[in-house]
């Protein structure tokens, strides 16, 4: 990294700090608007000029999200479905990523491209046939109704990330295992896997976010309130006549907190998980 020593006023006013400030502004202003609006009373949502700071500051929206609407139920459902889907994706994807990245298989390129193509097909066209399939299996309005499609649709991207990361692990690793007399499976488990943890965390974060925010399939397959997820539940706050924007914003702030926490805890891994390739000096 470049370490330029800055002196005088350059320590505060310099390119990096100004740019950082601009970035914070770019990202933070709409976020601030989201959070501020979630504390406004519904009557103050429509005033012009808009209240840049809510007055009165009201937590009624947060209360009503949990009390009036079943936000707690939606949160639980989203959590269960997302965690299980992510676990499945990581489990299956790590193995596949390892295979496609480090083992000599024919037709790897075709497979990878095919995986990509599958994830390309527009979701809207798959809803009706998937619904038929799930209905025939009797799995509508259940956790598996979403876990299975989510796993299938997130695997391609996860495999790509994991494979990319696996490529970067020095190839001597397998030799170490072989010299020690370990079977290929043990080699993978005890040597490769720990090295691949950052990549796994990255794929995990991406998968978690994708499942947490998915809307269309959750809307169509899990209609019953007991199995509803956050995106669908929040978008249905209100009645046929009234859309309570303030409550919706409040609920979405709450919905974003887990991901924010996860990302902050695993921030180092998110970066190093995308890093692959070693420097050969």
């Amino acid at each position: 990294m470049r370490n330029r020593k800055r002196t005088g006023w350059h320590r505060v006013i310099n390119g990096v700090n100004i740019s950082t400030f601009l970035v914070v502004l770019f990202i933070g202003l709409p976020l601030y608007w989201l959070i501020a609006s979630s504390f406004k009373t519904p009557a103050n949502i429509g005033v012009d000029p808009p209240q840049y700071f809510p007055d009165p500051l009201s937590i009624a929206n947060y209360k009503s999200a949990f009390v009036q609407y079943d936000f707690g139920v939606y949160f639980r459902n989203s959590l269960i479905i997302t965690l299980i889907s992510t676990a499945l994706v990581l489990g299956l994807g790590t193995l596949a990523g390892y295979a496609l990245g480090r083992l000599p298989m024919r037709g790897k390129f075709t497979l990878l491209v095919a995986l990509l193509m599958i994830s390309v097909f527009p979701e809207i066209a798959l809803i009706a046939p998937l619904y038929l399939l799930l209905h025939h299996l009797g799995w509508l309005n259940s956790y598996q109704a979403l876990i299975i499609p989510y796993t299938a649709f997130n695997l391609p991207f996860a495999i790509w990330i994991l494979r990319n990361y696996m490529l970067g692990i020095p190839k001597e690793m397998e030799e170490t295992g072989r010299i020690d007399g370990a079977s290929p499976l043990r080699t993978v488990w005890s040597i490769i896997l720990p090295q691949a943890l950052p990549g796994i965390f990255t794929a995990g974060i991406f998968c978690f976010t994708a499942c947490w925010t998915e809307f269309l399939m959750a809307l169509t397959f899990n209609i019953s309130n007991n199995y509803r997820t956050i995106p669908v539940g929040v978008s249905q706050f209100g009645t046929i006549d009234v859309t309570p924007y303030a409550t919706i914003f409040a609920a979405s702030v709450v919905a974003t907190v887990p991901i924010g926490i996860l990302v902050f805890i695993f921030r180092k891994f998110v970066i190093s998980g995308l890093t692959s390739g070693a420097v050969k000096g």
Partner: protein, 319 residues
């Protein structure tokens, strides 16, 4: 001279000389193991997606009537596709989706790289910045659309208040075609630039410091270093980001559906919105399936044409 391998360039592991046995046998064993490892994931994906995809393709080639007794499909016909090609709104949606994809991906690339460059130089607080960055990206798309709808609203939105304060008059952003499209792009870019930024940052972080020292010794300026040293090394990372962003952008649905409903008129109707409306508003499942299938084919075509990018990504290990 330092050799740098990047994500794509690393050759695959080939079986090192085993203590005993022929190299080919080990290679076969490893290949078999590879298939066993990859099979669960592949079967899972295939099992869930192949039936719906095939079903959808078949639907697009028949007369489909959604009835209480299931989809009644009769005949084999290209009528859905010919209706597609003759529909002005489909041609518009196609052009709009392509232009939208190109513009948003390019802007996100530039902005994302710029943000990544800033983050790389940041010594303190990088973790906080990253957490902040990823919050927009982790928001539910529907909520993002509602938020920006609230910002763009013509009589009590924040943006029109700011415009009025600085004397720019009273804009009707979502009610006029071009501003609505630009507004939607801004909402999309705001949400997904962090995704690109993180990927690029990862690529930047692993570049070794000594290449910069070497460039400085040679007397190169910052801009020259970036353009001729950093960027080429970043190319595989950028290619990955671009690839997935393009695929995602082509399926643009949530944002126009909630923010503008495809309007004003049909100004922000993307291919996915068109397909959804055909299927679920008009109950024309054949037409909707035709939209979806043609979209997938076009993206496939585009990807195959840019195969060279893929070869870069997948690497030379297959040769």
């Amino acid at each position: 001279m330092t050799t740098i391998s990047s994500a794509a360039g690393q050759p695959a592991v080939t079986a090192a000389a085993p203590p005993a046995g022929r190299p080919d046998v080990n290679r076969r064993k490893l290949a078999r193991m590879g298939w066993i490892f990859a099979a669960p994931a592949l079967i899972f994906v295939a099992g869930v997606t192949i039936f719906p995809i095939l079903y959808s393709v078949v639907m697009s080639l028949r007369n489909v009537n959604a009835t209480g007794n299931g989809f009644v499909m009769t005949g084999v016909t290209g009528a859905n596709y010919s209706a597609l090609i003759h529909a002005a709104v489909w041609r518009y949606a196609l052009g709009f989706t392509i232009v939208y994809t190109i513009i948003t991906v390019v802007v996100e690339l530039v902005l994302g790289t710029a943000i990544a460059l800033v983050l790389e130089r940041l010594t303190a607080g990088r973790g906080w910045m990253m957490a902040l960055l990823l919050i927009p990206w982790s928001m539910i798309t529907v909520i993002n659309a509602e938020l920006w709808g609230y910002i763009y609203e013509g009589t009590y939105g924040a943006l029109q208040a700011i415009f009025q304060a600085i004397g720019l008059g009273h804009p009707n952003i979502l009610g006029t075609s071009t501003p609505a499209i630009i507004g939607m792009m801004v909402a999309d870019i705001w949400k997904t630039t962090p995704f690109v930024a993180i990927i690029v940052l990862a690529g930047l972080v692993m570049l070794p410091g000594d290449i910069y020292e070497a460039a400085e010794i040679d007397g190169a300026s910052g801009w020259y270093t970036f353009w001729h040293v950093t960027l080429p090394l970043l190319r595989p990372t950028l290619a990955l980001a671009v690839m997935f962003r393009v695929l995602q952008a082509f399926g643009l649905f949530d944002l126009p559906y909630v923010l503008t409903g495809g309007g004003p008129g049909t100004a922000t109707t993307s291919l996915a919105v068109l397909g959804y409306d055909a299927m679920f508003k008009n109950l024309d499942f054949g037409g909707g399936a035709a939209v979806a299938t043609s979209t997938a084919l076009l993206v496939l075509l585009g990807c195959l044409l840019s195969l060279r990018t893929f070869r870069v990504q997948v690497g030379k290990e297959n040769t």
